[in-house]
């Protein structure tokens, strides 16, 4: 089997991020990631899911979707929210907004560290506006050695 896929959908509420973190932590550990790396993966996941819940699918009855893929050389996690923008309004996700967020980031600020953390601790971080007008965030964590998945 070349790839294994896991789908997970939770209500858009912070309460459900902890179980998701437990799921991914357990999975990453079983895949052989080091303790340190497992903690990094869990933190990135927490930050990306928190953004999906707080800025993306703001209405709790709407879900946040995760697709977790395991292939021979990496664990990949896609987090998809539905967005909240009224029809016609532009997506928040522009180069200008992203460089503004990056420029304004300061240790003194209470917020604005999530995207920075996700970028810093993952091997690949990608954000895209999706079909429903929300945000797709894709993060990749590579295995040190390629693995044969027979699981």
């Amino acid at each position: 089997m070349a790839q294994a896929d896991i789908q997970l959908q939770i209500p858009s509420a912070a309460f459900y991020i902890e179980p998701v973190r437990a799921f991914v932590g357990n999975l990453a550990k079983s895949l052989g990631f080091s303790r340190k790396r497992v903690a990094d993966i869990q933190l990135v996941l927490d930050e990306v899911c928190s953004n999906a819940v707080h800025h993306g699918s703001v209405n709790a009855t709407v879900g946040v979707k995760l697709c977790i893929s395991i292939d021979t050389d990496a664990l990949e996690i896609l987090v998809r929210d539905t967005g909240t923008r009224p029809a016609g309004k532009k997506s928040w996700l522009t180069h200008e907004r992203l460089s503004e967020i990056e420029m304004n980031r300061s240790p003194n600020n209470e917020s604005g560290h999530g995207i920075f953390i996700a970028k810093s601790l993952s091997d690949m971080h990608e954000m895209q506006t999706n079909a429903s007008g929300g945000t797709d965030v894709r993060v990749v964590f590579r295995f040190l050695k390629p693995r044969d998945i027979e699981i």
Partner: protein
């Protein structure tokens, strides 16, 4: 579940000590923030947050600690944190919060620093 049950508040020689017995993702972070704002409202000046039983913290929770530390300093007080697991230290360092909030090895050293 109300995660504030997992945040124990006590006082020692005029310093409020919060001992946190839950991981600090966004859900618990908002309860932590509420508890800290309660202390600000009561005009508390000195706070120590003991993180020895916390194995995960996210940027929202770090932000709550940074924000309250800054506000307490404006009135001559402070918030100090202690007993961080390695990965919590890494998260504070990554954000840069280690240079904003005072971090101590143990609760006693945090108390002594006031």
């Amino acid at each position: 579940m109300d995660s504030t049950k997992l945040m124990k508040l006590r006082e020692e020689s005029g310093i409020k000590i919060i001992e946190i017995k839950t991981d600090l993702s966004s859900y618990a972070a908002s309860d932590l923030r509420k508890m800290l704002e309660g202390l600000l409202a009561e005009k508390v000046e000195k706070v120590v947050v003991n993180l020895s039983q916390v194995s995960h913290i996210n940027s929202t929770a770090v932000g709550a600690l940074v924000g309250v530390a800054k506000r307490l300093r404006q009135s001559g007080g402070d918030l100090k944190i202690c007993a961080l697991a390695d990965n919590l230290t890494r998260t504070f360092n990554l954000i840069g919060a280690s240079s904003v909030v005072e971090i101590y090895e143990s609760e006693n050293s945090a108390l002594a620093a006031f």
